[in-house]
Symmetry: C2
Subunit: 357 residues, 2 copies
């Protein structure tokens, strides 16, 4: 059976002050009526016939439950990156359903064309069900972004495996520099690694055992406890999780595994890695600005302006700025420096102003 | 007896969003522990032996009473500019004290050197007590500001009238253009008109009768009612105020009156006509920015940043901006355009966002 597994572990400081330590990015609505997490769960329910689990940090479990009622929650005692998170999910799914196919999806991405997304996800689940593969969805790049890892794609497997558009993955490549990213986009053989992949739970556990034996040992202890009951499994997780290596599923497994394939995804996907990304996600209004909430821009273009409900941001005579008000904090930064929000976060921590983080 | 009369009728949209329709500029603390009004009353109490009245709009009377406990309040039913406000004050003072000397002072100016201010005010009261003059205090200009009217000064009256530094006023001049303002400052014969003057209440009423007969007729009705009691005077004011012409004391009386003299005031005075003025009033911190409240500026200079208590404003990679958070609103505007805040106010009104004004 198909199971969607949504990873909701991010901290999202790049969207400060909207995202905070206690309200990571996936809980933001960013001017829509629906949080990124709620949208991810809604899409996943459609794609996986309602079998949806969210893997999250224990201290976010209550927020996840409130935000997405009825979803299964797997709470991690501490964060140990995505190999552990998806291993934990695979242990639970394989326990309930030996034939479970797991679809790993991020909690905090934007999807513009949900119908196209659903068609691609349907094929990716089918590929993992019918073949011994790990099927990623690689995003067709819309710009030479240096913030993503890329997948280099090889020959078509459409005829061989009977899945339209399916291709072999030749290799995973790290986040490139600007020139390399431009070459990737121009060459047409690279896709963004958006962290979406589909694989049988048992196959994933086998690969973890092969490439990450320490992680596998910990997961074995959790699996053994799970036979005795969910509380026992949680106790085992609390015991073994701190000992697990913190490593990503990409780096720890996907880059080494055989039979990794991909489907190109072209559905207006964006991971909203910074305030600047909202220009693409939300577009510009008649004044040439991107506005979330109530804002008045006079004599300025290309600004991204965000205000909480009931609040107002007024910008006059400024262009290409990000002005974000959220709760008790305001951020002003040039759009071209959106990635440098981390410097503010560092400065606040250095000055003992952690309460605003 | 000396009486200080503080005019607190302003709206102060130029300091939006800190100043609002319901919280005009004089109620702002601007990062100090004391509102401009409270500071004005405190200074005035020292200069006038405690005889202090605040003339304000009826709908601000409760706020004034809360802000400056124990002060006498003269509430105007509607605003009719400073000739009416000071005429009303003169009527009340002359009723209680036929020899009253009135010192008119603004409620919303900053004074850096209060000892120097007190020395000048002492001389101004003395000049009005001993001689049949209207003694203004003209501010020694620190810059060629085009936001003030100017006083052109004439010969010294120090020897003739026995008041150090006293000079004749040749004429009042309107707000100049930039070139004219620069010539005024270079020439050394012009002072800013800061709206401070000292005169016997009866002399002021005589001048109003001479130059503003409509205003005088209204004030006569209030004075007649005052003989019957304060409630009767308030009722008369409510009746006659709407009929009074709205005209400034400068334009209606001072420019036409004889015996107008001035004392140069050099005590770090500023009317804080915009957010940009706070650079002079508050100075710059070690990072080259002017900060009111909690702010973090990374990689930027010359900004004016204001945040309410418990709030934070973070600015990165921007210089010479005004970023002001107050209550439910945020303003971002280049410092050089500080006077254009009015455009935001107009835009808000046009879009039905008056609730933020």
């Amino acid at each position: 059976m198909r199971h969607a597994c949504i990873l909701a572990g991010g901290s999202g400081t790049r969207l400060w002050p909207a995202s905070r330590r206690r309200r990571p990015k996936q809980f933001l609505t960013l001017g829509t009526g629906e949080s990124l997490l709620a949208a991810a769960v809604r899409r996943a329910r459609g794609a996986a016939a309602g079998q949806v689990a969210v893997v999250t940090a224990a201290d976010q479990a209550a927020m996840v439950a409130a935000e997405t009622p009825g979803v299964a929650i797997l709470a991690e005692p501490v964060g140990r990156n995505t190999a552990a998170a998806l291993g934990l999910a695979a242990v639970h799914l394989a326990h309930r359903d030996p034939d479970a196919v797991l679809g790993a999806l991020p909690a905090d991405a934007h999807v513009a064309d949900e119908a196209a997304w659903a068609r691609t996800v349907e094929r990716a689940f089918a590929a993992a069900e019918r073949h011994d593969v790990i099927c990623t969805i690689g995003i067709v790049p819309s710009r030479p972004d240096t913030g993503f890892g890329y997948l280099e794609v090889g020959e078509s497997l459409e005829a061989a495996l009977g899945i339209p558009e399916l291709r072999r993955v030749v290799r995973f490549v790290e986040k490139p520099d600007a020139a390399t990213a431009a070459a990737y986009v121009a060459g047409g053989r690279h896709l963004w690694n958006g962290g979406m992949f589909f694989v049988r739970a048992r196959r994933l556990l086998d690969d973890i055992r092969r490439f990450l034996p320490e992680t596998a040992a910990g997961l074995d202890a959790i699996a053994a406890a799970l036979v005795r009951g969910p509380d026992e499994a949680a106790a085992a997780a609390a015991r073994v999780y701190p000992t697990l290596p913190g490593i990503s599923i990409d780096h720890g497994v996907m880059e080494k595994a055989s039979g990794v394939v991909t489907l190109p995804g072209d559905f207006g996907w964006d991971d909203i890695g910074s305030w600047a990304a909202l220009v693409d996600v939300r577009g510009r209004d008649a004044t040439g600005n991107t506005v979330l909430g109530a804002a008045v821009v006079v004599d300025g273009r290309g600004n991204v302006v965000a205000a909480d409900d009931g609040h107002l941001v007024a910008v006059i005579g400024c262009s290409d700025l990000i002005v974000a008000q959220a709760g008790d904090a305001v951020l002003v930064i040039p759009r071209a420096r959106a990635q440098d929000v981390r410097q503010v976060v560092d400065a606040l921590a250095a000055r003992g102003l952690d309460r605003f983080l």
